[in-house]
Symmetry: C2
Subunit: 130 residues, 2 copies
């Protein structure tokens, strides 16, 4: 199993911010890095892009595949794709005239692991009652 | 034990948007609801608040406990807390002169489940371990 790339937050300098938010104190700098990734997802169109690309044949899609299902213009879709690529949540592979986008499952799963309040395994910090 | 409030997205009308993004198409309306919750977390101070409150004694904290560790003013901290409460990620319990905040672990875990790309089970279906 590959090491989680700390949300692919900073390709050059991976941080150690993969511990769940609810179990380890989040430092100021890690919070800035994490918020940057969360912000990239904080948009309905970008959430749908992740979902659409993931469901697309072969797990990848080009802008041309995404315009109609989203009902947005090509420049708008391209902008949203760029935000997701910059955040490390999508890869972009230029082939011929089109660029093909695929999700980075490690980045999404790392984000999920950070947010998970550990309900599946009783966490050390979980409130026991009330 | 309360049922999972579908990310507490809409208290009045729980949606069925808990399926992982990468495994089920996300509808336009669910995307708007989900983005609202993600947006509430898309801020370094709010991410740190979740972490600080969770780590605080008894799993709850008042504004007075949070000002110093965050290094922000009381009005600013109160604003961030309100955003998190409105998104269903924190509860607020007024006792005497102070309000005490606690995380809603179900909401965080539901959000994590939606974002999780299912790396633990490399199948296109639900993780079928156990």
């Amino acid at each position: 199993m590959p090491p989680l790339p700390a949300l692919a937050l900073t390709a050059a300098e991976p941080t150690a911010s993969c511990a769940p938010l609810t179990r380890a104190p989040l430092g100021a700098r890690d919070a800035v890095d994490l918020a940057r990734v969360v912000k990239a997802l904080a948009d309905p169109a970008r959430l749908r892009l992740i979902s659409l690309i993931s469901a697309h044949e072969g797990g990848e899609a080009c802008v041309c595949d995404l315009i109609e299902p989203l009902g947005l213009s090509q420049p708008t879709v391209s902008h949203h794709l760029k935000v997701l690529v910059d955040a490390g949540l999508l890869t972009r592979d230029k082939r011929g005239v089109w660029a093909f986008y695929a999700i980075v499952p490690q980045a999404l799963s790392a984000l999920a692991a950070v947010l998970d309040a550990g309900l599946t395994a009783p966490a050390s910090a979980a409130p026991a009652d009330a």
